[in-house]
């Protein structure tokens, strides 16, 4: 809602993602800040920041599948693994340039998603959740057992190079951020296209959508393809950042973390998805920093404090949000902005 007296006079204003000059200014300032952020923070936080970017892309994929189209995916980590292994195999074994494997990773993950989404046409709700959980376990099992993947120990991945020089952390962050910006723009923009509106129609009432002439089969598969494509891109970044992939990196837990992130951020909102990733990753980092203090206080638990606290804190935060703020952080942010916009007339709700 706009402040009183402000209206959109032209259709272009109505559909614009960035509406006013102030917002453009803020956007540019924010982007400059994000691009230079890695220069100000300590070294220990640099890899953390890059992982925030990687998770953000994967979470945007979940956002498109779950938040927009209402198809719950609990196998996002496995689709990330498909992307990561695609680039690992192609670039290590066949010497394909990492730049060429970027779209291939996305497409491979997207196709894997479509295969496991095929039952999704007949089933929904619990059954779809089951099918994606099965995808998670089957894909990770396959990567562990197949002969060309390196088994449990995984396989190494070459560095990304530009003009013969490998990227350092700062440059890798710029690459990650670039992809994140493209992903956010894509996710934001898709909501304004026919495809995005079809997704929302299917989410809100699939029978009504079908009656209106929407092809449910195609829509659901497309949502899965796009969501898993994002996962594949995230997997590509993941593999080339760690320079090493193994099946254990893509656990069921990671899939659930991603789902938890978009719940905390606010289901169905692009900003919310990114916000949720940042908040959860930040808390995880805090737990990492706090763990030595806690282990010093309780020496008998010393070895296991870090993994245990990470689980407990994440679970507690998500439970808190489900019980107290089910619409997520983005909703709360909106309310605050609304309050500011309507300031003297706070009668609205």
């Amino acid at each position: 809602m706009f402040p009183s007296g402000t209206f959109n006079a032209r259709p272009e204003q109505d559909i614009a993602i960035v509406r006013t000059k102030t917002q453009w200014l803020l956007l540019v300032a924010g982007l400059i800040f994000m691009f230079t952020l890695i220069l100000y923070i300590p070294l220990a936080w640099q890899s953390w920041l890059i992982f925030v970017g990687i998770y953000a892309i994967a979470a945007l994929g979940v956002h498109i599948m779950t938040g927009l189209c209402g198809q719950f995916s609990m196998g996002q980590a496995a689709f990330m693994a498909v992307g990561a292994y695609t680039t690992a195999t192609l670039s290590t074994r066949y010497g394909v340039s990492p730049w060429a494997t970027l779209p291939l990773s996305g497409i491979a993950a997207g196709l894997a998603g479509v295969i496991f989404a095929l039952p999704a046409v007949r089933i929904k709700g619990f059954y779809l959740v089951m099918s994606t959980i099965a995808a998670q376990f089957i894909i990770v099992w396959f990567l562990r057992e197949a002969s060309w993947t390196g088994g449990v120990y995984g396989t190494s991945v070459p560095k990304i190079t530009i003009g013969g020089e490998a990227l350092n952390y700062v440059q890798y962050w710029w690459l990650t951020l670039g992809l994140v910006v493209v992903a956010i723009f894509f996710a934001k923009n898709i909501q304004r296209t026919t495809t995005g509106r079809t997704f929302v129609a299917v989410r809100d009432n699939d029978k009504a959508a079908e009656v209106m002439g929407i092809n449910l089969f195609r829509t659901k598969l497309l949502a899965f393809f796009i969501g898993c494509f994002f996962a594949g891109i995230a997997g590509w970044l993941w593999a080339h950042f760690l320079l090493y992939v193994s099946p254990n990196q893509f656990a069921f837990k990671t899939s659930l973390w991603l789902l938890g992130m978009i719940i905390i951020g606010g289901m169905g909102s692009t900003t919310g998805a990114v916000l949720g990733v940042a908040v959860i990753r930040f808390m995880d980092k805090l737990v990492d920093e706090l763990a030595p203090v806690v282990s010093a206080a309780f020496p008998s638990w010393s070895g296991q404090v870090a993994p245990a606290l990470s689980l407990i804190v994440f679970a507690t935060v998500v439970i808190f949000f489900i019980l107290v703020e089910p619409k997520g952080l983005y909703h709360r942010l909106q309310r605050i902005i609304l309050y500011y916009r309507l300031y003297p007339f706070s009668y609205h709700r």
Binding site: T66, P119, S131, L256, A315
Partner: protein, 287 residues
């Protein structure tokens, strides 16, 4: 040799059936898929281990205390976490139970670390039935499974509470209008489910090693059984458990690596062909 493997699979299937039963009890009455169930089982196994080795209570008392613990756990989960969310969309409840599972796993890792063990009273050696040799732990599992299913069938058929549970499962509004307190039945099913988790915890603690990953392992066995049998069918859980128990070693016999993936592939096939399972209600798709 082959018969031994099949028999062992069949008996392990009894344990799977009990795992699936815990899901079915809750799902049937309140349409909630309790994904925390695997961790409820794991935490039961750990609590029993703690009671027997650290507190050093006698085994029979430890088991009794564990049953009380399981029932209390079920009751508390329903009252504190599930009841405030009644009537919300299924994803919310699903996430809630998943996060409870995370919480339990975190507590397990925090207190017990990476310790792994079998419960102290696990019988060793092999049991000979006729010409075949089976592990006594899985035999116990199978016997307990049969007894529990028989008892449940009797309860559902001949007692007032069982009848009330069936009415609630069939239709909440009708149950309400007949004077059945639906919420109390929900609570009761969670208590029964917690009790079953304690029982399965004991059996699983004998059949497999207890590790912090036990919860995920149990969940991984229980969900395919659940889908095969149908989400809301008690006999389906029994039959599904036995079938998965039999199919798993057969797959392992054919190619050793695929044993752990067989239940999931079976589940995907069922989802494609007959999503409501062997005995599930068809209209379940509409939820």
């Amino acid at each position: 040799m082959t018969v031994d493997i099949l028999l062992d699979g069949l008996f392990t299937g009894g344990v799977y059936a009990l795992v699936a039963l815990g899901f079915v009890m809750v799902f049937k009455s309140s349409r909630i898929l309790n994904l925390a169930y695997g961790q409820m089982i794991a935490i039961s196994a750990y609590v029993l281990y703690w009671l027997l080795t650290s507190v050093e209570v006698p085994t029979w008392l430890g088991i009794l205390l564990l049953f009380a613990f399981g029932a209390a756990l079920g009751f508390l989960i329903e009252r504190l976490a599930i009841r405030p969310l009644l009537g919300q969309s299924f994803l919310v409840l699903l996430m809630m139970t998943l996060m409870l599972g995370f919480l339990f796993q975190g507590i397990i890792v925090l207190i017990w670390g990476v310790e792994s063990f079998n419960l102290p009273f696990t019988p060793s050696g092999m049991l000979t039935i006729g010409d075949w040799q089976v592990s006594p732990a899985t035999t116990w599992g199978f016997v307990v499974c049969l007894v529990v299913f028989l008892l449940l069938t009797l309860v559902f058929r001949y007692t007032k509470v069982g009848l009330a549970m069936r009415v609630v499962a069939a239709d909440h509004e009708v149950a309400q209008s007949l004077g059945i307190m639906v919420r109390r039945i929900f609570s009761l099913t969670w208590v029964v489910s917690g009790f079953l988790a304690a029982m399965v915890g004991i059996l699983v603690g004998m059949v497999w090693m207890v590790t912090p990953d036990l919860g995920d392992l149990v969940l991984g066995k229980g969900l395919p059984v659940l889908i095969l049998g149908g989400l809301d069918s008690v006999p389906g859980a029994l039959l599904g458990g036995l079938i998965i128990g039999l199919v798993e070693p057969l797959g392992g016999y054919w190619a050793p690596g695929i044993r752990e993936i067989v239940p999931w592939v079976a589940m995907l096939l069922i989802l494609l062909i007959r999503p409501y399972g062997l005995f599930g209600q068809k209209d379940i798709e509409r939820i």
